[in-house]
Symmetry: C2
Subunit: 342 residues, 2 copies
């Protein structure tokens, strides 16, 4: 196998560029080439397989990411996206702002031909029932044809990267019946029921997201952002509440100690680092947005999944499936994507 | 204090009309008068304070609740709502379908003057940070002025029934900044920032819902339904996963045994029965929709909270606050509410 090259933005991570570089070093040791865009003097020495391109300018904290991308051509995320657009790298990984990564990807790597809107897809590590959610924040408003494309994009990703043979795709709604939801959701349900080359399991309610009834759940980016943050919030709150009630009695404290190892295994299991981040789907190349609070392990994982998506040719597979289903955009004059960070 | 009378629909509960009657009996023992609409022969004997009105016809499972309400004048929920409309009872409690209760309330008790849309409000028992969510399913689509009214309706309810002195009201969105969200959410944010007589704390993200940053969180009914079902789903899934990992080793099993009592206390604490159900706000009288799977304890609690809402005069307080803020509907020709069950 010829090596895959991943362009990585080292700016914006909570633990600093050196932590991203440490993740890049792990990925390089596993055979992936990394072009690392960030402040060379903070990054320091890197092993073979990692090439540092000095790019000290960061727009990871910019309040208007789309504007910052347009007005800052030497920002590290812009330079990384340009390297992918120019073919010097095969995929983009960002550890910074989601909005900046989306804008840089959209303006430089560009939408794949026939795609209405790129989407952010997030694999949720539900124990025993992993589920890919999209869109989790790229588009606050969508039309039915966007939701239909998200379904194909998610299915192709689940198949090639997550290894799900025949992904079941659901549509998030406020009831299982076909008529439930906003008019756009009802229209998307109708189209997906007739769609070819996809296993549509119908509407999925909020309770269904964690019940393993679908491998992919499709939604608009507003609801998707709320969904992932609710899941994170409820999960953290409940784990803290359990620790609190356990610490209130001697018996509880002993019980908590005995459960420490299994609970910590469960926590590792549902740790977002394991998934490597959120995936930008619908661009001409693969993009991954790692979470800013990741450690080197998470960044290494993000690079590894980007590499896998390239090797499995997710982009072509998605477009082939959409073409076969007649779901590619015909008119070139679609409304530009609103670039909104989750 | 003169006794409050609550009209209760006994049809539709999972455990049957007798269980609802048992809940009514508990409420009656505490001094509330109950008019119980349901099949007299299944209900059997009732104590003083409960009057059974034989109403064997149930529309709790009707696929189109609004239509069923219109075409079934002798349905128990319709008769119960009519009793409230006629002044024979002060509040409505239903243990059946939310959609049927909403339609029966809307068509018979009717919207309060100046209210655009009734909303369903649900107090979520987040440990240490209880929060009232609305709308959780009455209106899948809303306009900014509806969200503004929901804010006042929720604040008045939190103050009078939940006992929160100065409720902090937040707006669910995909980011904390004022510009985040759909155009309707952004417009609602703008209006709420300038609203008088309310403590608006700005946008609340999904993670914020469980963090105690607001006492009331306002949203459209589609997102609200997804939100409450996600919270329920994630919470149940995590509790099951903890039991599963604990049962996999002898140490874990002993730990689980020692934690049984605190975990069961936590579970009771977050049990939806404690809250009595969801509240229909914006009608001329108070309505409560208990969950179909409640036991007598939950139904008793629903009647008790309805009684409290009447005593605290939530309806008048809400309208007074809306009037002072200039947020009452002026035109009588607003689009009729879409009646959608959660």
């Amino acid at each position: 196998m010829s090596p895959i090259t991943v362009a990585v933005d080292a700016n914006g991570a909570d633990l600093g560029p050196a932590e991203v570089a440490a993740g890049a070093a792990i990925a390089a040791a596993n055979g992936t080439r990394v072009l690392l865009f960030g402040p060379a003097k903070e990054i320091g020495d890197v092993p073979d397989g990692v090439e540092v391109i000095d790019a000290p300018v960061s727009i990871a904290k910019a309040p208007d990411p789309a504007n910052a991308v347009r007005s800052t051509p030497d920002a590290s995320i812009v330079l990384a996206a340009k390297a992918v657009a120019a073919g010097r790298a095969d995929a983009l990984v960002s550890g910074g702002s989601t909005g900046a990564a989306l804008a840089a990807g959209l303006f430089n790597i560009k939408r794949a031909r026939g795609i209405h809107r790129p989407a952010l897809a997030l694999p949720m590590p539900v124990p025993g029932a992993p589920v890919l959610l999209l869109d989790v924040g790229a588009n606050v408003e969508v039309r039915p044809e966007h939701l239909v494309q998200f379904a194909y994009m998610g299915a192709a990703f689940a198949q090639s990267v997550m290894g799900v043979t025949n992904p079941r795709v659901g549509l998030l709604s406020n009831g299982e019946e076909a008529g439930k939801g906003t008019p756009d959701v009802v229209a998307a349900h109708q189209r997906l029921s007739e769609a070819v080359g996809i296993t549509f399991v119908g509407n999925v309610e909020g309770t269904g997201v964690t019940e393993g009834v679908a491998d992919v759940v499709v939604m608009d980016g507003f609801t998707g952002n709320v969904t992932l943050k609710l899941m994170e919030g409820v999960s953290n709150k409940l784990m803290r509440s359990i620790r609190d009630v356990a610490s209130q009695s001697p018996r509880g404290r002993v019980g908590g100690l005995l459960l420490r190892r299994p609970l910590s295994a469960l926590r590792d299991n549902i740790d977002p680092e394991v998934q490597g981040g959120a995936y930008m789907l619908g661009l001409r190349r693969v993009g991954v947005v790692a979470h800013g609070r990741f450690t080197r392990r998470g960044f290494a994982r993000a690079i590894e999944v980007a590499e896998r998506a390239v090797r499995e040719d997710v982009v072509t597979r998605t477009l082939t499936a959409l073409d076969a289903a007649g779901a590619l955009r015909q008119s070139p004059s679609d409304t530009p994507t609103s670039v909104q960070a989750p």
